[in-house]
Amino acid sequence: MSTDTLTPGLVRINYRKVIARALADELATDPTVVFLGEDVGVAGGAFKATEGLKDRFGDRVRDTPISEQAIVGTAVGAALMGLRPVAEIMFADFAGVCFDQIVNTLAKYRYTTGGQAKVPVTIRMSNGAGSGFGPQHSQAAENWFLNVPGLKIVVPGTVEDLYGLLRSAIRDNDPVLVFEHKNLFALKGEIPAEPDDSFIVPIGVADVVRAGDDVTVVATQQMRHRAVQAADLLTAHGISAEVIDPRTLVPFDMETVRASLAKTSRLLVVQEGPPDGGWGATLVARTAAENFELLDAPPRLLACDPTPVPYSGPLEDAWLPDAQRIADAAERLVDY
């Protein structure tokens, strides 16, 4: 856009390309960082999200066979020997193939060994629906891992958050799953032209994306952007919505949500993916149990339908809550 005025010292970059920048900045900062995955090196990644890294970092960037279990297990073994591996699982759906390595090997290593082992492994996965990839390439898979203690889970929804959280994830001494929403790949944002630690986003801290007084809408990734659009729609109806992006699901920043509810007394959680057994349902349950006295309306979860993600445009569009449905749900809570 020609009207953009770029802040001095910053560069404008999209959500897809910032992945290589964040990886490059950590690879350059810490010689123990290594990166492996299918076609991530010479080919530059299935989404061209990791172009240039192989040329710049050589053997520290490694193309693997199509062996998701070996990718994760190898990352764990390398971590035990002092490296800080980043493993790519091309589509989060493929985590099903290496589920055991993630939930039994990686997540439990520290615990099972009584704290002897440190496994600073980061697993990056492309996530989510909205681009017509069909049932096995479109799932928002973060909820699969929610009840596996030992993992941290981040779900960045902006360029700045992806840059800052991916770098935090790599520096973290615990295993971190980083979900990168592929329907946000074209989203633009600004990051420092040169590596700058002040742009690192801490794990476990939510972002109040938009301040409001009447209803709290909590949403991540694609749904966070739709929640902001919904907040615009609600303004026309005289309703002021506060939008919170948790950014991290484990550990969850309950404090920021609680502070918002102290003001709004109404909670709407918008979650991509089927409704059951996810972070949205957990947040609703925790709010009901822990903050009942703050509420003036029942806490509500707006999620996708309990079906696989359909392929066809009209079907997938209907499956994902849009801004209007989010606004309607928020309005019903205000009217309760």
Partner: protein, 326 residues
């Protein structure tokens, strides 16, 4: 070197391996007794009869090298040098256990001696050892990783993924397949289309060697060659060690599925007997051999007594070690 000094060195090394095999055997005798007296929770998997594989292979390793193994892994972790008392304490679920009582019999781990872990999911550890080997390759440490697993594990995906990755990246890994002829209660021929497991090596571009897994000297010899090859950048090796577990799969499995006579044949080739016969040929007296055994028994008993006297963990310790930071 003269033949006399070579013999002396061989004798010393074999005596040391015999001592360690005795210690592991006594360790599992006590574990079995504790289990029958409900001092051990859940399950326990004894590897009695297979001690020569772990002792032989780890004797070819040096400091900095690593191992991973299975739920039937007492032998490997002890052979790597984990302390007997803290291993006992882990099996008893004590605070001073190797893993603070969080893992138990199936998860003995001692990172300080390179015993990276015992794994309760069949095959899950093979890629972990390829990862340790990848780190060694990248960092140029010259370290080698040995991963121990069963014949049954040769049919799970991680086996193929890890073998292929190690083959194509030329990683310094020893894949040590302990072929004890059974996976749980199933004889190998009922689960495995081609029971010649050594040939799996061909598929993944590495040498495959079959060895008598009850002959500790033979195991040591093939392991030495594989280690040398791995350190020189020649890549991985599959070692198929033919052996036999003398007890059932786990807990109180009576192993009634074994054909009559099979156990007796293997007991006649018990690794402790094989090594004792060889030591006799090398001039070690019966009395000396008995002394080695008796000392091992005393050492293990004393370790068990220490472990029994140690504390149970405080209930709050269950919250520790999930995350480093939260």
């Amino acid at each position: 070197m003269t033949t006399a000094t070579t013999d002396a060195a061989t004798r010393e090394q074999l005596l040391d391996m015999q001592r360690r095999m005795h210690e592991i055997r006594f360790f599992e005798d006590i574990t079995k007794d504790w289990f029958s007296r409900s001092l051990v929770r859940g399950s326990t998997h004894l590897g009695q009869g297979q001690e020569a594989v772990s002792v032989g292979v780890t004797s070819a390793l040096r400091e900095g090298d690593t191992t991973t193994c299975t739920y039937r892994g007492h032998a490997t972790v002890l052979a790597q040098g984990a302390p007997l008392d803290r291993a006992f304490a882990e099996i008893l679920g004590k605070e001073q256990g190797l893993c603070g009582g969080k893992g138990g019999s199936m998860h003995l781990t001692d990172l300080s001696v390179g015993a990276l872990g015992s794994f309760a999911i069949v095959g899950a550890h093979l890629p972990v050892s390829t990862g340790a080997a990848w780190a060694a390759q990248l960092l140029g440490t010259g370290a080698v990783s040995a991963t121990f697993f069963g014949d049954g594990a040769a049919n799970i995906g991680t086996f193929h993924e890890a073998m292929n990755l190690a083959g194509v990246w030329k990683l310094p890994v020893l894949f040590v397949l302990e072929n004890n002829l059974y996976g749980e209660y199933s004889p190998i021929a009922t689960t495995t289309a081609n029971t010649d497991l050594r040939v799996r090596a061909d598929t993944y571009g590495m040498p495959g060697i079959r060895v008598d897994g009850n002959d500790v000297e033979a195991v040591l010899e093939v392991a030495r060659q594989a280690v040398e090859r791995a350190r020189a950048g020649g890549g991985p090796t599959l070692i198929e060690a033919m052996t036999y577990r003398q007890s059932g799969h786990s807990r109180s499995d009576p192993a009634a599925y074994r054909p009559p006579g099979e156990l007796d044949e293997w007991l006649a080739r018990d690794p402790l007997l094989v090594a004792a016969r060889r030591l006799g040929e090398l001039g070690v007296s019966e009395a000396e051999l008995d002394a080695v055994r008796d000392r091992a028994q005393e050492t293990v008993r004393a370790a068990a007594d220490r472990a029994l006297a140690w504390d149970e963990p405080a209930a709050d310790r269950r919250f520790d070690d999930v995350w480093e930071t939260r």
